[in-house]
Amino acid sequence: MTNKLTPGRVLLMEVLDVPQLADTIADDADLILAGINSGDLIRLGLRIEEQTDLPLTDDELIELQTVNGIDNVLANRTRE
């Protein structure tokens, strides 16, 4: 399976210990149910904070559950 390399998926690949796993996950699939370790999602959140130099809000944290959600958070931050 090859999914579109969106900014969210690229970022997910960067924080995963086994980056190839990111390519096996559909855009709207729940990341934890797809086998992503919750610790990797913590690293993802911190990486977004580091890149944008802004703390994540509660709403943004809730959104970081799918590749689409990561893309939304990144897009909104870029817009701001």
Partner: protein, 503 residues
């Protein structure tokens, strides 16, 4: 009788004080007592009797604690499970402990449909609420020696073992923790660690002191920080990895942490760097908690404001002191013949006291290997210094501790060995900045069929919880073994260290 006693006592003494909260609700002592009485009564009506085991498979939520209390009020045994365990692992655990029923969150319950014995109830849904708000009857108190909790732990054999913890052990944990750390009814403690983990006994000790326990659903450093400020938390229990992540969060420096009196940390050794930074930036003391599920949770404690330990001047680059024996947990260092070693000499750290487990469920052979002449053998190699501090030097077994969770190489090897194209396999721990250690696997491929790394990792995803999945699989020509055929893991670890240094 310990858990029912704690809840009934606090409901009498301070009925309107908050006992338990999570993101969804708050419960006073009176409400907690009433709801757990009602759940116990409903379970009894369903046929649950003293000694029955009940599995609870759920992420962190207040209902898990509610079920712990309700089940033990009936003299039955609370068996919390990691919800990230794949279904075959949960089936294996169920085949061992033979539960009469299971509580699980809806998604898990659907995945488990027809796979586990007995009845099932979805946590937090209508049937559960009916049970919690139904008729209340009193039930005879269980004895202190009765089993209260069965924790599932990783095991050297590759299949989990079930650790039977009695009410007596939970009381011992409270007595030791309260005496040493002054737990009080004014405390508000954040607990983001999983409730299926042996560290949940620290939350029970806080409840026994009459304090308020806050259950965090999924740990994120950002939510942890905002909850400390919002709830004026006085204590927290975190793994070293969690502390590291909290220190990295952007909101750290702008969050009001002034309510915190103590950050307890355990689940694995903390690095000197993280401890130094934590002490410099948190406005409170830190306390190291060295523990083992089979020992009843914490067995040694060390607060950051204690005087410097005597230390181990004869060792080059000694580790940080893990703590001194907690009241009620007597620690010695034994040699291979079971003789007590003097301070400074390295042997196996062993503990005895009321906290020690009753047994491994239905596994007397493993129990006899672990508890010898009353001493629980921890599997940790270490020593005591002249001032009684415990130092962890190495492990007698091959345990890998990833972010506070235990992984045995045999668990990974069992899964990989079954995969097509795998001729031989060995797993070891590799140093990790974020997690302390992470598992990696070395695989010798079949001459005829070379498996891909992704296929091998995916096979682990299907059968192992995600934290047990190796972060890398290296294909090599031969697994180093000694003359007796035992894997030389040290050689593999050295190979990893050399390649990390080279890169």
């Amino acid at each position: 009788m310990w858990i029912p006693h704690v809840v009934q006592r606090n409901a009498m003494i301070r009925p309107d004080a908050l006992a338990l909260r999570d993101a969804a609700r708050e419960l006073t002592w009176q409400q907690l007592n009433a709801r757990t009485d009602a759940i116990a009564t409903a379970l009894a009506a369903q046929g649950v009797v003293h000694g029955d085991r009940i599995m609870v498979v759920s992420g962190n939520r207040s209902e898990v604690l509610e079920l712990c209390i309700a089940i033990t009020k009936l003299g039955a045994v609370f068996c919390p499970m990691n919800p990230n365990n794949p279904v075959p692992e949960l089936e294996y655990i169920a085949s061992n402990i033979r539960p009469v029923g299971v509580f699980a969150e809806r998604g898990l319950l659907d995945a488990l449909a027809g796979r586990l014995p007995g009845w099932s109830v979805a946590v937090g849904e209508a049937r559960y609420e009916e049970m919690a708000q139904g008729e209340r009857r009193s039930h005879p108190l269980p004895a202190q020696g009765d089993a209260a909790v069965i924790f599932s732990t990783s095991a050297t054999t590759g299949r989990s073992k079930a650790v039977v913890v009695a009410h007596r052990s939970l009381m011992a944990c409270y007595v030791g923790m309260a005496a040493e750390t002054a737990l009080s009814r004014d405390d508000v403690m954040l607990n983001p660690c999983p409730l299926f983990h042996g560290s949940m006994v620290i939350g029970l000790a806080l409840l026994a002191a009459g304090g308020q326990l806050v259950i965090e659903r999924d740990f994120t450093p950002q939510r942890f920080l905002s909850d400390v400020a919002r709830l004026r938390a006085t204590r927290a229990f975190l793994t070293p990895s969690m502390i590291r992540f909290v220190l990295q969060a952007k909101s750290f420096d702008t969050t009001d942490l002034s309510s915190l009196r103590e950050v307890m940390h355990g689940g694995g050794p903390i690095s000197a760097d993280v401890l130094r930074e934590g002490l410099a930036r948190f406005p409170c003391r830190f306390r190291s908690v060295y523990g083992i599920t089979e020992g009843g949770g914490p067995i040694a404690l060390r607060a950051s404001d204690e005087p410097e330990p005597a230390g181990l001047p004869h060792l080059k680059d000694p580790p940080l002191a893990a703590g001194r024996m907690m009241p009620g947990a007597h620690i010695v260092v034994l040699d291979d013949d079971g003789k007590i070693l003097p301070s400074g000499q390295i042997g196996e750290i062993c503990v005895r006291g009321d906290g020690v487990m009753e047994e491994y469920w239905d596994n007397s052979e493993a129990t006899q290997r672990s508890v010898v002449d009353g001493w629980l053998h921890t599997g940790d190699l270490g020593c005591l210094d002249a001032s009684g501090y415990v130092y962890l030097i190495d492990r007698k077994n091959d345990l890998i501790i990833r972010g506070g969770q235990n992984v045995y190489p045999a668990e990974i090897e069992r899964v990989l060995r079954k995969q097509p194209g795998v001729s031989d396999v060995a797993a070891v721990g590799m140093a990790s900045r974020d997690w302390g250690e992470v598992p990696v696997a070395f695989v010798v491929p079949d001459a005829a069929q070379r498996p891909s790394e992704l296929a091998l990792v995916s096979s682990c995803s299907a059968e192992l919880a995600s934290y047990k999945r190796p972060v890398a699989v290296y294909l090599i020509e031969e697994i180093p073994r000694n003359a007796a055929g035992k894997v030389l893991r040290r050689v593999l670890r050295e190979r990893l260290a050399a390649s990390t240094t080279a890169s």
